[in-house]
Amino acid sequence: MAELKIIGLLLLLLGGAVGGAAVMTWFERRVLGIWQDRLGPNRVGPFGIVLVAADMLKLLGKHDWVPPFADRPVFIFAPTAIVVAMLLGFAVVPYAPNVMVIDMNIGLLFFLGMTSIAVYSVLLGGLASHNKYSLLGGLRSAAQMVSYEVFMGLSLMGVVMLTGSFSLIDIVLAQEDLWFAVTQPLGLFVFVIAGLAESHRLPFDLPEAEHELTAGFHTEYGGMKFAMFMLGEYLGLILISCMITTLFLGGWQGPWLPPLVWFPIKTLAVILFFILLRAAIPRPRYDQLMSLGWKVMLPITLINLVVTGGVALWLSEGGF
């Protein structure tokens, strides 16, 4: 029985995540349209939602082409890594008290590991294309991701300190009285920015930066392989939003409504915030992005760590 439940949950999760990412492509364009005072895609079907199916048909119908100068096996392998890693990341997210695939005592580290594996997609895609724009995009993504991974991990250590566990269930339960967004505002700030940089979305999409690098690491990609990159990017967005909900916004907990309603509401709010950032903030220059990371983000996280550690120690000694 337990196995059946897990398999059902897995199928539901797979459909939900991939379907959600597909709908997100339409939703994002629509919301961006509203914020930028235009209509957005509104022609196909009610509110234009059938556009998702139209896009999918177009991508499936395209010639699945591998450039003759590319490193063929790596070129084909690259787009799969990000999708697989991001989908695996969903396994540790606690959606409701009993609705999660696996509760590991290293859940948080597993999530961090999966986001760092996803980097290879962009890197290898850029390397295998044998194209100068792709190579530059891949190089940028390597530096950007490795840098922001550091702050991403460190910003979460305050949460881990206050909970005393890497298990995501424990982290959610520790927020019963007060969200970590209140007690860890610096951690939340750094995690949001690092999450944005890790999912390389606007304004931090330096690896693809279309005005200087054509399309960056996926210049040579088309059809379904390109769609896999996009799918991975949107899965990353959803996964980061799920993690922010779990780690800082109290997870499934909330008054009146059942847990399985609260979790999507909070996640959707975070996704909307990410889309708003995309609409509001211009893309920084590459060196600005790197110096922001090492000169602003790293000191902030270290101060946060020291203060949180001190307060946790002080509280465990009994306060005043």
Partner: protein, 173 residues
């Protein structure tokens, strides 16, 4: 139990196979991909051995950060067909038979030692908290030494970059 054992040996076989492939590839990028697979397989082995924390660190640090830097360097060098030819020449039998023989002797010794000690040691899961307690308890000296080594590396890197910046001041930007 048998399924766990099967999965353990499967990931061990993957680790061995991908490491062998990583050694014999002439294309540096392909070799690195096999090395990443090998590290992931070792992480799975750690997980089966009851060390989930070590498994997670293996993925986050080795597969996720250090190997990214390796790939980064390969991209920076942009290796051409010439370097691949050079690499192929180095894989010639006359080049590797002696190191191979020496490693085989070491392997034989290792197998002998491993079979000599009794394998009745009790396997149990080690939680992250235990790892932390022992790292900052009896092994705190090791942690401090490692941090000093990292600091030395950091200072060295800063020194190199500092000279570069001072030489190029006023020329760029």
């Amino acid at each position: 139990m048998t399924l766990t054992l099967f999965l353990f040996y499967l990931s061990a076989a993957i680790a061995l196979g991908s490491t062998a492939l990583a050694l014999t590839r002439a294309n540096a990028a392909h070799a690195l991909i096999f090395l990443i697979v090998s590290l992931l397989a070792i992480a799975v082995l750690f997980f089966f051995l009851g060390a989930p924390f070590a498994a997670a660190l293996e993925i986050v640090i080795y597969a996720g950060a250090i190997m990214v830097l390796f790939v980064f360097v390969v991209m920076m060098l942009n290796l051409s067909e010439g370097s691949r030819e050079q690499e192929r020449a180095m894989l010639d039998f006359s080049q590797w038979w002696l190191p191979g023989l020496l490693t085989a002797i070491l392997l034989a010794e290792l197998v002998y030692v491993l079979t000599a000690i009794d394998s009745e040691s009790t396997v149990r899961a080690v939680m992250p908290k235990e790892v932390g307690l022992s790292l900052f308890g009896p092994y705190v000296l090791g942690v401090e030494l490692a941090s000093m080594l990292l600091l030395a590396g950091l200072v060295g890197a800063y020194h190199l970059g500092h000279h570069f910046l001072r030489r190029n001041r006023g020329r760029s930007e």
